[in-house]
Assembly symmetry: C2
Amino acid sequence: MLIGMQDEDNAVAPSGAVNAGMLGGMLSVALRRAQAAVNDDLVARFTATGVRPGHFGILEVLKHNPGLRQGHLSDALGVKRTNLVPLLDMLEARGLIERQAVAGDRRVTALFLTDGGAALLAQLQTMARAHEALLAARLGPDGRAQLLDLLARLTTPMAGG
Amino acid sequence: MLIGMQDEDNAVAPSGAVNAGMLGGMLSVALRRAQAAVNDDLVARFTATGVRPGHFGILEVLKHNPGLRQGHLSDALGVKRTNLVPLLDMLEARGLIERQAVAGDRRVTALFLTDGGAALLAQLQTMARAHEALLAARLGPDGRAQLLDLLARLTTPMAGG
DNA sequence: TATTGTTATACTCTATAACTATA
DNA sequence: TATAGTTATAGAGTATAACAATA
């Protein structure tokens, strides 16, 4: 049993269920649980490929931006460049991407999908689309667009208060 | 710069920005980013107390369910009982909760908030309410309720497909 | 035998500091 | 000096297996 109650004040332990206090009404809690459930579904669909959602994101971005620098890929995905390295190492070791030196600036590495990478990506896209279709079925026709809009409003950093 | 484009097909690297392909339309991506931003805000508000959102959740549930067993707390929070132990150890070491033996079944530990724990919880609740108020301001009057409803539809496990 | 809390362990994601080679 | 990629490391969250005490 997970959190499901939204009452704010109830100082005594209830009969069968547990009173979660204000947690049931907190977006932080609801977001964490929904994100975990959604991510678990996507991970399960990807398992046979030996690839995680993070790897899929890399392949997807590289398909649309061949020759992208690692730094720009890092910015686009919101993954620190230092954490991108082992992900790229794995994809390169499996022959799904290539790192190529750049003529003008020898510090830079340009990233490309291999044919094998493009082939695997096509499979992953099909899985991801089925995944999204399941979510859309749960949310209803307008629910998915509404949810994307609401989530976007929360995504920018919240410095000022 | 983070992902922000929703176009599906564009095979060439764009001028300034990066084409994120289908990632921009994926709920999995939007959820991860929103959850991270929201969680970062809550963590920042809690920092001065030396407590994390997970600790707050424990204190909040114990306030409403004094004497709760560890196993039931684990179920209520969705945290494995094995991962609850170090969190409870920290809270007990700081004198915020107490573990008490139970008469009928000596395997069981009952958990209680101390006075200090209740005092800290009151502060954390105020911080959490301010946090939620900021989110509500971003989402609009109905947005928050809509979001909670949409997230709840995604939270149940998605076994069947 | 089964259950409760615990320990040990491992994997993923994330974050910072420091190194290299280039510029 | 500064930048791009890398290495090493550490923290937090989550997962399983196995143990001791108790039922």
